[in-house]
């Protein structure tokens, strides 16, 4: 599937995804998926799957470092985790009924509002 994605390009994309995922604790996938799809011509569902397989080790490493520096709150994490698992199940079953495109825009607006509050 991939065309002429040079080693340097792949290396750089990996590095940036790792860096962002480590420093912001999120966003690795948001960077990887479009890179895989647009720069390397990977099919969409494979790009998603491959992105997850890359971010899993990255998140393990980052979690370990955060943990070592005592930047964790396990009780709070557990609560979020329970909600999140239930939500993920609900989300994937709603996938066919809701326009993901519209949601994307709505969440984009939420993100911008939150972003402005954080910066200003």
């Amino acid at each position: 599937m991939k065309k002429n994605a040079s080693i340097a390009k792949i290396a750089l994309i990996g590095f940036i995804a790792g860096l962002v995922n480590g420093i912001f604790g999120s966003g690795g996938g948001t960077i990887l998926v479009p890179c895989l799809v647009f720069l390397m011509d990977i099919e969409d569902h494979k790009a998603h799957a491959t992105a997850i397989s890359i971010i899993l080790p990255l998140s393990l490493i980052s979690s370990f470092i955060y943990f070592k520096y005592n930047v964790v709150d396990l009780p709070l994490t557990l609560k979020v985790a329970i909600g999140s698992v239930l939500g993920a199940l609900a989300g994937s079953s709603m996938l066919n009924r809701i326009s993901v495109n519209v949601l994307r825009k709505i969440f984009g607006i939420f993100m911008i509002v939150a972003a402005l509050r954080m910066v200003l």
Binding site: L12, G25, S26, A90, R104
Partner: protein, 126 residues
């Protein structure tokens, strides 16, 4: 309870394949008052079990580009070590600002990117 609800909402979004973490983190920071770094660590840790579950399915379906995975993971791991050390050593308020800038870029991307994927696979099932 509120925390669980926030988790639930971000889970729904992740389940739909739109990065849930970029919303979970600001929600925790603003609604619960979690420190920026803690919110980030929560997102990282919560991602792990759901990623494992998702990968089990993807491995069976041979959806993973293994050659690419290895190449990307090498520099990815390096980046993630550097990024994580930066995150735990930066001041909370400074990190929040940087995160805000990152979020702004991501938000603009979400709004402006036209979906190449269309409504793709209605056979997601189960």
């Amino acid at each position: 309870m509120l925390t669980m609800l926030i988790g639930f909402a971000s889970g729904i979004i992740s389940g739909m394949g739109i990065g849930g973490g970029t919303l979970l983190i600001p929600a925790l920071v603003f609604i619960i008052g979690t420190r920026q770094q803690i919110a980030q660590s929560i997102n990282l840790i919560v991602f792990i079990p759901s990623a494992i579950a998702a990968l089990c399915v993807h491995i069976k379906k041979h959806n993973i580009e293994k050659g690419l995975l290895l190449k990307l993971a090498v520099t990815g791991c390096t980046g993630s070590v550097i990024g994580s050390f930066l995150a735990v050593n930066l001041g909370s308020n400074l990190l929040k600002r940087y995160f805000g800038i990152f979020l702004l870029i991501m938000g603009i991307y979400e709004i402006t990117s036209k979906n190449k994927i269309k409504d793709a696979k209605p056979r997601k099932g189960s």
